[in-house]
Symmetry: D3
């Protein structure tokens, strides 16, 4: 399988493959190691999730996007946030919290009835969960910070996403969690914001996220996959991997794009059938 290499050799800065290495790998059908589910998560996942998350670690985001789009979800990619760890892939399940601008009366009522929802959500997080905070783009105040994140990590959580800001950013960077946000901030939740809703549909960077959605994050954004179609779209994406490997193989041999992409020419389709047989 032929995939993104910079994500594999974790901790390595920009590793620029020389062209010869690409050609060599294409010739040798090298299978570089894949991104992995973080160790503190993998051990806690249910067998089903471990298999599902594992498959998502083996495909490219754009292949899954194509399948999700084809299912009737064209607006499923969040690209307005920054990934704190650009070389980490994130695969997890959305647990959502909604924030609003602070207001004394509503805040008093809500906080009398329940803990602040950043605390509650990390306390209740299940293995593989991603906390997702709707904050309306507010960055003058953080939605949460390192304590919540530590509890989330201990419970097997995968990451945190905010349409807003987090605090304690260097500590968040040191933890084995992926983080997406608009900016960092030192100021806490109060007195700018308050948490109001838990496990409701939320708006993140122009995309709706529903509790239970599967989130697939790369450095350029987060793909939101409705839970009901995730099995189907992962299978389709896995099927795409082999064809794209063949297409790159041809391109790296110097053949013309026109016969290869977006569709294989008739002649190349035959070569592809042979290629697949040879690999079996």
């Amino acid at each position: 399988m032929f995939r993104t290499f910079s994500t594999i050799i974790l901790g390595s800065p920009l590793w620029l493959l020389p062209l010869s290495a690409w050609a060599q790998m294409a010739a040798a059908d090298l299978n570089p190691p894949e991104p992995q589910i973080p160790a503190h998560v993998a051990g806690k996942l249910s067998p089903q999730d471990r298999e599902l998350f594992g498959k998502l670690m083996r495909v490219e985001l754009e292949s899954v996007w194509a399948a999700v789009n084809a299912e009737g979800y064209p607006n499923c990619f969040i690209n307005e946030l920054t990934a704190l760890k650009p070389h980490e892939r994130m695969v997890g399940r959305a647990r959502t919290i909604r924030y609003l601008p602070n207001r004394k009366d509503l805040r008093a009522k809500l906080y009398a009835a329940s803990p602040q929802l950043n605390y509650k959500s990390s306390e209740e997080a299940q293995p593989g969960d991603v906390l997702v905070f709707e904050a309306g783009g507010e960055t003058r105040s953080a939605v949460t910070g390192n304590v919540t994140a530590t509890r989330l990590m201990v419970r097997g959580g995968v990451g945190m996403v905010a349409d807003g800001a987090f605090r304690d950013v260097p500590m968040l960077e040191a933890m084995p969690l992926q983080i997406y946000m608009r900016r960092g901030q030192a100021a806490g939740v109060s007195p700018i914001q308050m948490s109001v809703d838990y496990q409701v549909p939320v708006r993140i960077g122009g995309v709706t996220v529903i509790p239970g959605d599967i989130l697939f994050g790369e450095r350029h954004g987060i793909l939101v996959i409705p839970a009901e179609i995730v099995e189907k779209v992962v299978e389709q994406a896995l099927a795409t991997v082999e064809r794209e490997e063949f297409q790159r193989h041809l391109l790296l041999q110097g053949e013309s794009l026109y016969d290869i992409y977006p569709k294989l020419s008739e002649a190349n389709r035959k070569r592809y059938e042979e290629y697949k047989k040879r690999k079996q």
Copy 2:
């Protein structure tokens, strides 16, 4: 009472008072007519609302703002939207609707259970209501248009506010409703957005609006008044009106600001006591 004149003589374009007119009015204690509750609303309001709304027609927005702020609500003014009718004051009660980016699965479930919420909210609107649409700033699609507005008008509604866009803008302008929005748009709700929540707290231009809040709009924005404190803050604002009238009276006679504002000097406080007696 000494107030904003441009809002009184409805339909008049920018009417610029010459200084002599100001001085003359100050001298004569002229009471120009006040902004009025629109006729199609006034007849339908409950007696309590007619009195409350009527008081709000007699005070300046900033006086009420000061009282709301003093009650512990510093973030209560929405100034990111445009008033379609800059010379119309709006006083009404919030009825809220929350929109999210469209998503096939959630939309199907919601629309099977209930009419679209723009229709529902206008159908259920009470006299004096303002429909308030959270749309996350989205202006590539309108939240609603003239049909909803017509039904709202017939039911005694006062206006519509969107953190987004309305369509049929020239028709909305022709109706006796005040409108606040980011931009206009020709495109309908679908396929960009969907309505998801009704009568929940919403985010409008960085301010939280709760169903039942009293909204007080001028050309520069909307003051959000929690229902529980509205009686109190209106009384305080009415008390402010008389003092400000006296302060302007002194200023128009050419006296120095320093003895008048923000606090009356000792000498001027005595004159004010006499002024109030004389007026009785």
Copy 3:
């Protein structure tokens, strides 16, 4: 026919119809006067254009939008620009010019070969034309000003649209041309920009405009209608007018929205058939 009234009584500021007037008109089937093709244009138009433009003066923008959208053009409404005359409807044909940031070498070559394209486009404008300037949102420099506009007016032009700025704004306001822009500016084209292409497809506020497109502008934006479908969509929009008139008629009598919109109930469809017969 029942339409936007504020656009009819030109020069009138915000004319707020009392509800009784709406009901009265609905009852009486009043036909208020329609927006008119400006006199300096009407006399110069070809008979075909006079008929086409005249029809567009009799329908609502959203009705035409629906027909254009249904033809496969969902992204056809420009809502990022400001109309200088919010109560003027604009109907005209696009004549396009493309600007780029200034560059000495290209400018020298282009301006040696042809007059600046703002001059050329107004000189060559045909009756009913709208000059459309792609300027990439640049507002530190105007694309053109009153002299070009005067020549355009004399030739029977209808308006000017810029994804950028115009200068001489008070003079433009005084002329019988509609103007759409991001902002005004005093600075001329040079040394910030230059005109590079004439009568090519351009990008205006996120929408593609092609030379010959029909532009239909209201205060909230400009609908872009491909020339090939304009006859068809106008006919569809005219058919919509009558049904919407009936729908408003019912709403103004206080009937429930649910039986009227977006679709007439079975019972109301029958009443509509009778209504249409009665009107003939």
Copy 4:
């Protein structure tokens, strides 16, 4: 003299001249009345200022811009603010105030030493002055409101400009002052901002304004004229008026732009000489 008509007939909404009226005026060399210095200002101005301001009321902004630009000041037009009264021309002299985000220690020190600078600046304003507030684009808090404005008006002030927000907007609209701002706001200066500097150079909408600069405002922005060159540039602008009148005269007769603008052809230059003689 042939000039902007919408600014003349004050209070008139969008008055759209029919082409025939333009041609008629051009033929008759009609001199429509000019914009006037407001009455409460004119009576207080020094004779020199009355003459200077009067001349600026007789020229187009772009003509003065050209002269200021030619003197070496290319960045002299502020177009990021909104004029509260789009049909009012503003001519006045800058009196500047600089605001910064609030900070307890500095605020305590400054306010112990001097009144807040919005009060001080209006108290010290001279006839013809414009208060100019640098606020860094901050609109969550107003820089000042109607009391300051009333004192400014009484002292013969002309207007107020803020790279930020004013409060009491409907009252400001009712006064004979021109106002430029980003948005309106109900919240006062504190606790968001504080005034820190008086009569220093400031940044307004990307342009530097120096105390004593002459400000020339139209609906699309404010031209900043260094005091030392104002006499010179006004004379140049007055000279431009006559030539542009002749150019429009030719254009309205239907002649080609190419022989008229930007430069008169040789033949037209001769006609211009005769035209000037005939007018004497």
Copy 5:
């Protein structure tokens, strides 16, 4: 002491601690090495500054933020700029410069009287200084570049902050200085900007910075600490460190957040007392 690890092992890319390492360290009370004052600075600092800066190297930014906020400075964190070296902590003292849009007359006067202020400020910089440039967000022109930075470095300077742009960005990155800016730029100061004020209060990313303020920068922004309270807030932050270490210790053992944060439960407070004794 338990702190951010990514900042310690300088030059290391994203080093993601496995959960086991966190737990191990918590158990062993490991004290990883702290961020250090750069060598070219440390040797030149006064003993007092070396002690103060050294303490700030031992605490988390958010702990200091809490203490500064509690002293009455809620708006003290700049989060709109980008740190060129995200894994470098910056501790230094503000030396401020204010820029305005270029203007020929003022520039001539200022530059005749003094060197450009970017040169002057680096020439006069004291060990531990940070140059802070107010540029109003302007990024079409840099405020300064590598030569100024080299002189600053030689004099023991710590970094440079601009609400605007720097040039020579790769060279700045290679120097042992921290840099905060909006963007980089190749163009020099002139002809877009000019330096006008030195050692005055400035606006940076919505926060006021006063000469002599202590700046504490991390990858997510800069905390501005008034000089008069810095000793006090640092002591408070140091006291926070021990309690947070204990709180993380409990969390890493899997205990519930609710008994730990934001306040320790009664039972945990007792354990904390024992923990502190054990550590002594």
Copy 6:
């Protein structure tokens, strides 16, 4: 030669030179290795290009900027895009493509006549080429992705620039191409955009790029060099290198900036002449 070190030791994260190292290098006239033309490009370049590109690898961007600016091109630096590989210098030749918002009729016509232009441009790319995509800032849809990039790489291409978004970002990062963009995106070209023009002048981040321009990119942006002046400006930049080396040499010895920069004092000019002799 004394230059940026972080760009040399590729793959190294932030390498912070201690001051002593700087001084040592200045004393020893160390010549650190320079950035290199990527291997897959160098072998394919014409001898002339290899020499030209090689020279550009030996100078600082700002030195070339100064020479381009002096030739009359002040607006030649693009700083609104993000470099995917901040430590990679890009030198190449522009091959341009223009995109517009999608439109069914035009798309059908264009795509019937020619392949999509992202395919065509990579298929026709020459060694040393950079694909440059005008997309008007649109980031809801990518202009192209990894397949195009692979073909470009095989043909000896150097990089891709979009005033918009690319997809397959981790794969692009793994390839030996430099990438500039606004954001990443998973969604493909259709149905948001379409390619319309090939090898025409385009607008990128406020700068005009013409086919054949030489692009010189660093982490902070891209310098656009007109092909006709590239030889001249490179020679000027090479001449600057030696003088700046001497200036840094003096600064690192602790001498005052005032005698060194921007101009050498008379005494230092004499030392410079000796320095140059000594080096020969």
